[in-house]
């Protein structure tokens, strides 16, 4: 369990979510801001430290589409070109590539070490590595491959979404502690 005592903002905004006790204060605040059909607020955030211990990163990504009176901002969900979504997901939408990324999460590896850890042979491994290099999920230095910060973020984010979706598969949705408002 993290030492949330030193994290007053997290305690105020997210405590119930962290403790799995129901929707957090932040989630309840968001539900109260929705005005009509189509309104949406979405966020993902995280923090991680790399294997080498020397550096880490934090990220947040936030989308909103909330009407105020007659004024409606353009929906971010519809503004994103579908091609950008494809480009984002293709590297992670393949079992073998995720295994390569999971191996690299522990630290940089040579092609031989990757092959041994994943069971992928030469041509296959190089194909998947080139997809991951192009997507900037992986980089290469002195013949050793490593996950980029972006690759770490994507692996952690999609792993939690996958865990959440599977847990809830019986219902209709990703809803861990969903509630219908008003």
């Amino acid at each position: 369990m993290p030492d949330w005592g030193n994290a007053p903002m997290t305690r105020t905004a997210l405590w119930e979510s962290v403790e799995e006790q129901g929707p957090s204060a932040l989630e309840r605040e968001w539900a109260s801001l929705l005005r009509g059909p189509g309104d949406v607020i979405f966020m993902t955030m995280g923090a991680f430290r790399r294997m080498d211990g020397r550096h880490g990163g934090t990220w947040t990504a936030l989308s909103w589409h909330v009407r105020e009176g007659d004024k409606v901002d353009e929906s971010p969900v519809l503004a994103v070109p579908a091609m950008h979504v494809e480009r984002l997901l293709v590297p992670l939408a393949h079992e073998a590539r995720v295994r390569v990324m999971q191996t690299l999460y522990r630290g940089p590896r040579s092609a031989e070490e990757l092959s041994e850890a994943t069971g992928l042979g030469g041509g296959d491994l190089h194909h998947h590595l080139s997809v991951l290099l192009n997507a900037r999920c992986v980089d290469e230095r002195d013949f050793r491959y490593g996950l980029t910060d972006f690759g770490c973020q994507m692996l952690i984010t999609m792993a939690s979404i996958a865990a959440m979706a599977v847990r809830d598969r019986g219902e209709e949705g990703l809803v861990i502690r969903g509630f219908s408002g008003d």
Binding site: S17, P37, T44, D73, L78, R87, Q102, M154, E172, D182
Partner: protein, 175 residues
């Protein structure tokens, strides 16, 4: 000022405290706390995913928090990034990793559509359109409803999720 900036300023004290004002540059206030929480061991990580939406009058909010701050001590759980089987990523994401399917789902975002309207909105017709619809239905992201096709709750949540991440990834990488 966007609607959201005005709403956060006037009506959302918790959002404002954690994330600052929408237009402000640099790390969000809460990111400092999370950097501290993950500073104890190599490979520490914390992740939070949450959303709220209104579809057809129903309000729904969801959130999920996972963390790994135990280091590699004996008895520590497998890491967040490592304990999810790779096949599960593929099952979740491969139905969405196609431009055509994202366009079809975007066309349903504001409500169910008969196939004729989906064709008009996306340019995909006949067997091509039905092939993609079938894959989306099989994955649980789309359902047939009232003589047309509609996003499921899961489909809607996944679309919002991947669109948000795609948008921020493009911004961060300066494309």
């Amino acid at each position: 000022m966007s609607n959201w900036e005005k709403i956060v300023l006037d009506q959302a004290p918790i959002t404002r405290a954690a994330f600052g004002l929408p237009g402000s540059a640099g790390p969000r206030p809460i990111e400092g706390e999370w950097a501290e929480i993950t500073s104890k061991h190599d490979q520490d990580a914390v992740v939070y995913v949450a959303g709220a939406w209104n579809r057809g009058g129903d309000h729904l909010a969801w959130g999920y928090c996972a963390w790994q701050v135990e280091g590699n001590e004996p008895g520590a759980r497998p890491h967040i990034a490592l304990r999810t089987p790779a096949t599960r990523f593929e099952r979740l994401l491969s139905p969405l990793a196609h431009e055509a399917r994202i366009r079809i789902m975007q066309a349903m975002y504001d409500g169910p559509k008969p196939s004729g309207q989906l064709s008009a909105a996306t340019g995909y017709r006949g067997g091509n359109l039905y092939y993609h619809l079938k894959e989306l239905i099989y994955a649980g992201y789309v359902t047939e409803r009232g003589g047309g096709y509609d996003l499921t709750a899961l489909g809607c949540q996944m679309l919002v999720t991947v669109a948000t991440i795609a948008q921020s990834a493009v911004r961060d990488r300066g494309e």
